[in-house]
């Protein structure tokens, strides 16, 4: 496909070294690496919070933490995982991969790129630091529903500012991605020839630009209700608590697609590579992404069926939500058809990808079930929903991220990741994930509410099982640290096309990708 210019073979890099290199860097690969490390650190922190929650829920009764603190843990776990781990991880992938995949030399706005990363650590410090202020972190849930969030202490303000900052960072990242993808593709790479990961991110970036300001608005109104005497969400002053939920979920539902569309993109590269066969239905994959994104703006109130909407409202949001199953189904069918009559092998990236499809689809089905308003009214705010969104977030987004990491690590480090450890990591994660989260479906159906530190005796056995699974899952993630460190340090040398069936511009540059790539645009035919 493309020629490698002689320059690219030398890793020449001028400018500051040491810490200053990382602080001042405008190189998409450096920034991508920082995003990925940041996300992984936040993932481990959020994991520690989750395991504390699970430890408390091991048995009925209060053993380890008090209810106030328990609520802080669930809230911060959600915020840290969503805004600290999953979203930045995908932006890290975008930074590394989009320029390499479209044959661009860097992101369009390289300095803004630096800025959008360096906003994140202060936001994380605000968020985590709020545990240590009087009153502790916010305990209003990651959804921060008013008026509960109006009751909270200073930790709530810190969370609001953290969300503001992370929002600004996401918007800058998104603008950068849109401009890069639209303007910097190699000559000959038409939009409909663009790698799916880039398509997925292009669409995701538009979603981000559309909804992050909405979230900022919602939390700012909470802030002014808290401190400046406004009554946006206070009925006594003429406001409406439910309005908060409408605004929040207008952000919140597209947000869940922000966390899954790039995952679809990653999977759409891994499956064809290891099936050694082109992706089935490229065009319909693109249309499905677009359809999901557009529909995602008209389904927000499915999170609010129990608020008591009029029947017409419930019906509208139920139908619209069910419709999303169609494009999502198309994607799963297309992946299956890609595997059909392929010549498959199951290196770690492929294991994660197939695992992703399997467990994500379970989450998709429970999503369809909770789309049905009467059923949702029964299981809303129970562990059924906790199970559902962990099947799409952990087994969806997170598994895809791991798959992508194993897939592109050779390109990033120049070494093949340890295959045996990668497989152990996958199988442990897969098994423990299901032990941890599958029983939660039963808990929810049987009537265990979520966000509670203690529960009735009938829920005891499944909770014990879930906790055992959760600890197994959490510990399994440490394997990845070993794999990543080993891979950076050494290991089997990766060739430019690290995987036999891999296709795309990123595989035309050497592994590891030199510091500067595609200074002269490749030509795509």
């Amino acid at each position: 496909m493309a020629a490698v210019t002689p320059d690219q073979l030398h890793d020449h890099h001028h400018g500051p070294t040491g810490l200053m290199r990382w602080i001042t860097t405008t190189n998409h690969k450096d920034i991508g690496t920082m995003y990925l490390i940041f996300a992984f650190v936040m993932f481990l922190s959020g994991g520690v919070l989750a395991l504390t929650i699970r430890a408390e829920l091991f048995q009925p009764g209060l053993q380890i933490v008090q209810p106030e603190f328990f609520n802080q843990l669930t809230t911060m776990h959600g915020l840290v995982m969503i805004f600290g781990a999953i979203m930045p991880a995908f932006v890290g992938f975008a930074n590394w991969q989009i320029p390499l995949m479209i044959g661009a030399s860097d992101m369009a706005f390289a300095r803004m790129n630096n800025w959008s990363f360096w906003l994140l650590p202060p936001a994380a410090i605000l968020l985590i630091g709020s545990f240590f202020v009087p009153g502790g972190a916010t305990a209003a849930g990651w959804t921060m529903y008013a008026p509960l969030s109006v009751q909270m202490g200073i930790g709530q303000d810190m969370a609001i500012f953290a969300v503001h900052i992370m929002g600004v960072s996401s918007i800058m990242g998104a603008i950068n991605i849109v401009v890069t993808v639209l303007n910097m593709r190699a000559p000959g790479m038409k939009l409909m020839k663009m790698p799916l990961f880039c398509w997925a991110w292009l669409i995701t970036a538009y979603l981000l630009i559309a909804v992050m300001p909405v979230l900022a608005g919602a939390v700012t109104m909470v802030l002014t209700d808290r401190h400046f005497g406004t009554s946006f969400f206070n009925a006594a002053g003429g406001g409406d608590p439910v309005m908060y939920q409408h605004i929040f979920w207008f952000f919140g539902h597209p947000e869940v697609y922000i966390m899954i569309l790039p995952a679809f993109g990653i999977i759409s590269h891994i499956i064809p590579t290891f099936a050694r066969k082109p992706l089935f239905g490229y065009a319909s994959m693109v249309y499905a992404l677009a359809a999901i994104a557009i529909l995602s703006f008209s389904v927000w109130a499915h999170h609010m069926f129990t608020t008591g909407m009029p029947a017409v409202g419930q019906l509208f949001f139920m139908y619209a939500t069910m419709l999303i199953a169609v494009p999502t189904g198309v994607k799963v069918f297309n992946w299956t058809a890609t595997m059909w009559r392929g010549s498959m092998s199951f290196e770690p990236p492929m294991l994660w990808a197939v695992g992703f499809i399997l467990v994500f689809t379970i989450g998709g089905f429970t999503g369809l079930i909770v789309a049905v308003a009467p059923i949702d009214i029964q299981v809303q705010d129970t562990y059924y929903v906790v199970a559902h969104f962990h099947y799409v977030l952990v087994a969806g987004s997170l598994f895809a991220l791991f798959g992508g990491a194993y897939y592109w690590l050779p390109k990033w480090t120049g070494h093949m990741p340890d295959e045996r450890l990668g497989k152990i990591h996958f199988w442990c994660s897969m098994v423990f994930f299901n032990i941890a989260f599958f029983p939660m479906h039963f808990l929810g159906l049987a009537g265990m509410p979520r966000r509670i530190p203690d529960y009735a005796l009938q829920f005891a056995d499944f909770n014990m099982l879930a906790t055992i699974g959760a600890f197994g899952f959490g510990l399994s993630q440490l394997i990845f640290i070993v794999v990543a460190v080993k891979c950076v340090r050494g290991g089997a040398k990766a060739s430019a096309r690290a995987w036999e069936g891999a296709d795309g511009l990123e595989w035309t540059v050497p592994s590891p990708a030199p510091y500067h790539t595609f200074e002269e645009a490749p030509v795509v035919r």
Partner: protein, 300 residues
């Protein structure tokens, strides 16, 4: 078309299978046995959905795992090169739409039923407080009864100092009492933050929103004690504000009402009748220990 055919064929058998499985799933793995018409509809709807989803799941992953085991490089599989097929793609877009229509139809009927709160025999207002429920019988037999319902599980049990009772965390001092077979309309509201009034066996979950009134209805057809929880995070003791409803015979209900009204005229304990005074904040013993009624909200 082959793939699509595999997906579509079993779907036709669904209604039969659904009825059969519905009876056999023990309730530990499923929704609690419903005792209201709405609850029963939800229960069936969920079973139906579950079975349709399972069938599709097995069909799709049957195909995928066939490929996973057969079309392996290590077994000498040679990759084909097809990458699109318009008719198949159209089929697997259109067929799901029809399956969805089949799901939406019964769901729509249930939504309309749930929303039809007209003509109640008795109307009760449930008010969420941090962290207890207040009940006012507004209309119908029992009108004028009002009381507060607090968790009655002793603190010792929660902290592990005493063995946990059978209804640990699902028991209250003053349960809601309603007659069997009557249409009960529940109005929900709240005093501080959003709560949610939920009794799984009734298929009722309705948020209680401060400053607003929402409603739901149920008609319990079996006498018994039904338990639920607050289902919206409402602060520190969100996990400790259960709902307990006693569904009793008409006669027992009439007697209960008489007792309440008589007691209410004379006393001011948890079960207080009448009066324009605000719901008394005086909780009973056990509850005062586990969920102090007037404590400041968490984190404030």
């Amino acid at each position: 078309m082959r793939l699509a055919g595999r997906v579509a064929a079993p779907v036709i058998l669904l209604p039969v299978a659904s009825a059969a499985v519905a009876q056999s799933i023990p309730s530990k793995f499923n929704l609690p046995p419903p005792v209201t018409p709405i609850g029963a509809q939800i229960y069936d709807l969920h079973n139906l959905m579950l079975i349709i989803c399972l069938v599709i799941f097995v069909a799709v992953f049957g195909v995928m795992f066939w490929a996973v085991f057969r079309h392996r490089k290590s077994r000498g599989a040679v990759a084909a090169n097809f990458h699109e097929n318009t008719s198949v793609e159209i089929a697997w877009t259109i067929i799901p739409v029809f399956i969805l229509l089949g799901m939406a139809w019964p769901a729509t009927k249930t939504v309309l039923d749930m929303k039809n709160t007209a003509d109640p025999d008795i109307t009760i207002k449930a008010t969420g407080y941090q962290w207890k429920w207040g009940y006012d019988y507004l209309q119908g037999e029992g009108q004028g009864i009002r009381f507060v319902s607090n968790l009655s599980t002793p603190r010792d049990q929660i902290e592990g100092a005493a063995p946990k009772g059978e209804h640990y965390l699902l028991e209250v001092d003053n349960p809601l009492v309603v007659p069997v077979g009557k249409r009960i309309r529940v109005l929900t509201t709240a005093n501080d933050v959003i709560h949610s009034w939920w009794v799984p066996a009734f298929g009722v979950k309705q948020d209680a929103i401060p400053g607003f009134i929402r409603d739901a209805w149920f008609r319990a057809d079996t006498e018994g004690v039904y338990r639920g929880n607050c289902a919206e995070l409402c602060g520190r003791d969100h996990g400790f504000m259960p709902v307990e409803v006693h569904v009793v015979s008409q006669q027992a209900y009439t007697e209960w009402v008489a007792r309440q009204l008589a007691a209410g005229a004379a006393s001011d304990t948890g079960a207080t009748a009448q009066g324009a005074t605000p719901v008394p904040a005086a909780p009973t013993e056990g509850a005062a220990q586990s969920a102090p009624a007037n404590a400041a909200p968490a984190g404030n």
